[in-house]
């Protein structure tokens, strides 16, 4: 019943069926939360849903997002501390309970099928409604570079509300009028400067004081903490080796489970036989789990060895057991020729006159695996409570506790209220850890071992062969030039693009929503350039290969197609790639400033040694604009090295510059690993790669020198930083290789000779 209503709601959004509802919903104020919400323990006082203080003068901030290295604990805590006037060294973070207040609205809004430059009532209403929907579903998720964008107003508001409460508590305690009190550095002081109380002194003075509507937030010029780079909250534990990742969870009576997944996608285990008869010592059970088979025992290493060497499984094949990469590319080529577009978009006007010349170029991007450094894992425990009731606990590095809870409840057949999800540190996420396959399998194992916690872990081979991949994609750009004059003039451009859609597959996989047949939104964002005429035809391929959200999602391939072709256009028009982009960006001052910054800092146009080249690329994604210049050095015409990358980003107001810089470098290296090595291929329905030796990543020796420049354009909207660093690097490198060698590489990964 829930599903059909949800379907109707989503259909309504897509159809713009909620026009005219209006903006009466004061959504930010609704997200402050009650004083009891953040579950204050003894010695603590809740100030609202996002912050509590304790007698030892600690300020505890609720961080409902997953820390996967993007610095979210630090950045979100800074928002509260800023408005509350807490001292940075008194701030701690804690995961709050599940509640709608902590929902991530921006992640839903980003999922809508509009591009950022589209505006108007339909778009606004859809955004508004997605916000409402977020409230209804209570989606707590981390991804889409949305965490700070989503929290920017609510968490600062929570800080301001907390400060207001502390001032009133101090006023009552010390009998000083509230107008004479200010909060500074974790203390309440009189305007004269005399200390009235530390925050911790006020724990017992808050009593029955109610949360009041928020006082006005600080102006950016008043920020003390925001815009600086205080030390990251998560760093010491990660340096001492004491940070607890999912794989490090240790519980009394813990068992380990290893998994073999069905070799072909959508397959399953029908049964199994032990090659040597009985179960070896230390192995408790072998169970069939969704998509595969698991061995449970006292040692993961032993259980994994058993599955790999000593068990014969009867596999049921998936729907495409013969699939291979060559035939898949053929299928895509046919779709490129005559597939029906799921989305067509045009802008500008097609002009008819003049003598024409046409340029076409076809680009390819392969499937990619995520390979987060921490292999996929989930720990689950099911306790029978009698009378047919069970409680479920899940410890997991995950990107959406809401979805994990939902999936665990389904798998254990209990109401969601009987499931508790404990989110650990994530050893990388990159989109992979929003999926629910692991939690389903772990609960399956836990049900077989009632009362015992079971830690289910995939080997690296299982991770690479059973990922939800970045879709492979095929695109053909075409440009028409008018060649009647002395110099060719661009008349218009058009692109046909074929890819599977993760936004179609993900809801189907996770909550059973029927596919909408829509392309993934990031994959079809328009390039920012003012072409005289632009047309996009996006064709959605279906198929059994699971595709998912891979850092920057569709931008990761579309930026390569678009920014490579813009360079090809510049060449055809005999223009400098920078000057040509500048021409087409007239009237877009933010883009221009980013472009000019990166060009200047990279020394665009200055000479390089023979055999070296510079390439430029620009991509706006997740609310931020990023441009990069890559320098490559080519040896013997066959191998190349990326020696230096210059990056400029305009992400609006910067919360923590060090984190933005780190995220840019991180995005560049992640994208570079894919551009140089990343390729998942299929044979006989299965993935051919299996571990780092055949699915490699950039290491220290191949890491370029990087410089990141933050561009302040005065924009007030905050942009994401976790993903926007990734899209430009592949085309920047491809363009640099062209500059160095005259060879245009149109397929990823980039291979010379």
């Amino acid at each position: 019943m829930k599903f059909s209503r949800r379907k109707a709601i989503i259909g309504g959004i897509v159809g713009g069926g909620f026009l005219g509802v209006g903006f009466w919903f004061a959504r930010e104020r609704d997200r402050v939360g009650s004083r009891a919400l953040f579950a204050p323990k003894s010695g603590e006082a809740g100030l609202n849903g996002w912050v509590k203080i304790s007698r030892d003068n600690t300020v505890v901030v609720a961080v409902p997002r997953a820390e996967m290295g993007q610095g979210v604990q630090t950045a979100l805590a800074m928002l509260v501390a800023e408005e509350m006037e807490a001292r940075w060294d008194q701030v701690r973070v804690e995961e709050p309970p599940e509640d709608g207040v902590y929902r991530n609205l921006d992640i839903l809004i980003d999922g809508l099928p509009f591009s950022p430059e589209e505006a108007g009532t339909v778009v606004d209403t859809a955004h508004w409604f997605a916000g409402k929907l977020g409230g209804v579903l209570g989606v707590n998720a981390t991804g889409g570079s949305t965490s700070v964008r989503d929290a920017w107003i609510p968490m600062r508001t929570a800080g301001a509300v907390a400060r207001d409460l502390l001032l009133r508590a101090a006023s009552r305690k010390a009998s000083i009028p509230v107008a004479d009190l200010i909060a500074v550095d974790g203390e309440v002081r009189q305007r004269s400067g005399a200390r009235v109380a530390t925050f911790g002194d006020l724990v017992d003075s808050i009593g029955d004081l109610a949360v009041r509507p928020p006082p006005p937030l600080k102006k950016p010029s008043e920020f003390k903490l925001i815009g600086t780079s205080p030390s990251r909250i998560d760093v010491p534990a990660k340096v001492m080796g004491t940070a607890t990742f999912g794989i490090d969870v240790r519980l009394p009576g813990l068992l380990y489970a290893a998994v073999l997944n069905a070799p072909t996608f959508g397959g399953a285990a029908n049964g199994f036989k032990l090659k040597n008869g009985g179960l070896p010592k230390g192995i408790e059970k072998i169970v069939i789990v969704p998509g595969g088979i698991a061995a449970i025992g006292a040692s993961w290493w032993r259980a994994n060895k058993l599955l790999e060497e000593e068990v014969e499984v009867q596999w049921q094949a998936g729907p495409e057991p013969k699939l291979d990469s060559a035939s898949l590319w053929k299928r895509y080529e046919q779709l490129l020729e005559n597939g029906d577009p799921a989305l067509t978009r045009t802008s500008g006007r097609e002009s008819a006159s003049g003598k024409r010349q046409t340029l076409t170029a076809t680009y390819r991007a392969p499937y990619l695996a995520h390979t987060p450094m921490e292999p996929m894992n989930c720990t689950a425990r099911v306790v029978e409570q009698g009378a047919g009731k069970r409680s479920v606990d899940v410890w997991m590095p995950n990107q959406s506790s809401t979805l994990m809870r939902f999936a665990a409840a389904k798998a254990a057949d209990v109401p969601q209220s009987d499931v508790t999800v404990h989110t650990t540190f994530l050893g990388g996420g990159f989109g992979r850890r929003a999926e629910v396959d692991l939690v389903r399998q772990a609960v399956g194992c836990a049900l077989a071992m009632p009362g015992r916690p079971v830690q289910l872990l995939w080997s690296r081979e299982q991770d690479i062969r059973h990922d939800t991949y970045r879709p492979m994609a095929l695109a053909r750009w075409r440009a028409d030039f008018d060649v009647s004059g002395p110099a060719p003039a661009l008349v218009g451009v058009a692109k046909r693009q074929v890819a599977q859609s993760p936004t179609d597959q993900f809801p189907a996989r996770v909550i059973g929503l029927p596919a909408q047949g829509k392309p993934e939104g990031n994959a079809v964002e328009n390039p920012p350039y003012a072409f005289p005429f632009y047309r996009l035809d996006a064709i959605v391929a279906d198929g059994s290969v699971p595709v998912g959200f891979w850092r920057s999602v569709g931008h990761s391939h579309t930026a390569f197609f678009d920014e490579s072709f813009v360079d090809e256009l510049a060449l055809a028009l005999v223009k400098d790639p920078l000057a040509f982009r500048r021409e087409l960006l007239a009237g877009k001052p933010r883009h221009l400033k980013v472009l000019d910054t990166v060009a200047k800092e990279a020394g665009w146009g200055t000479p390089l040694p023979v055999g070296s080249g510079r390439g430029l690329a620009l991509r706006a994604s997740f609310g931020s604009i990023v441009a990069q210049v890559a320098e490559v050095a080519v040896a013997d015409g066959k191998t190349f090295r990326v020696t230096r990358v210059t990056c400029a980003i305009d992400c609006g107001p910067v919360v923590n510059p060090a984190i933005v810089r780190a995220q840019m470098e991180s995005g560049i290296i992640y994208g570079l690993s894919a551009a140089l090595y990343g390729e998942i291929t299929l044979a006989d329905g299965a993935v051919e790669q299996g571990n780092f030796p055949d699915y490699d990543a950039v290491r220290l020796a191949e890491a370029p020198t990087m410089a990141v420049h933050l561009v302040d354009s005065g924009a007030s909207a905050i942009g994401g930083v976790g993903e926007p660093g990734t899209p430009p690097i592949a085309p920047a490198v491809a363009n640099a290789i062209f500059a160095a060698t005259g060879k245009r590489l149109r397929s990823l990964p980039l291979r010379l000779g």
């Binding site: 990742f245 380990y256 040692s299 987060p372 921490e374 540190f425 690296r460 560049i668 780092f692």
Partner: protein, 158 residues
């Protein structure tokens, strides 16, 4: 029963002799600082010191460390009983705010500490060669800075 020393303490493990050291540490001794990343000696997340040498613990049988001294990230800074001080590499890592997700970091830190013991003033080239680990978060430039900084600290810089 296999006996060896872990972080200065005598430990015994009653396991199959071919069980990799990594899994003995993680499963039998509850020492979870060394991480599992690939299991095939390709990523370095599991790096520990065996008699002072950096070793990828996923790919060495526990029987091969019998009687030897193993140091993990948990024991790196704690050289004298009661001394909770950080190793110079860890200090440099904090100063440079190296970790992102942090999962690869114990392996890098152990590899860096071993490198600096063998080569107190490493060149960039030495660092590239000794730290062939994988960091999927791309913390490489911070790692390079931190290794040079740790060398300076060990050389007496404040």
């Amino acid at each position: 029963m296999i006996s060896f020393i872990v972080n200065g303490q005598n430990r015994q493990a009653d396991v199959e002799p071919e069980k990799p050291l990594l899994w003995v540490l993680r499963e039998d001794l509850d020492i979870v600082g060394p991480k599992f990343g690939c299991g095939v000696a390709a990523c370095g997340a599991c790096t520990v010191h065996v008699d002072g040498q950096p070793v990828r613990s996923c790919s060495i049988a526990v029987s091969d460390v019998a009687g030897k001294s193993v140091i993990t990230i948990e024991g790196l800074g704690d050289r004298n009983p009661g001394d909770k001080g950080l190793h110079a590499v860890q200090r440099a890592w904090i100063e440079n705010q190296v970790p992102q997700c942090g999962y690869c970091q114990p392996g890098f830190i152990m590899a860096a500490a071993a490198l600096l013991k063998a080569k107190p003033k490493p060149s960039d080239r030495d660092i590239d060669e000794a730290l062939g680990n994988i960091c999927r978060c791309g913390t490489y430039s911070a790692i390079r800075r931190a290794v040079h900084r740790a060398a300076a600290i060990l050389g007496g810089a404040p």
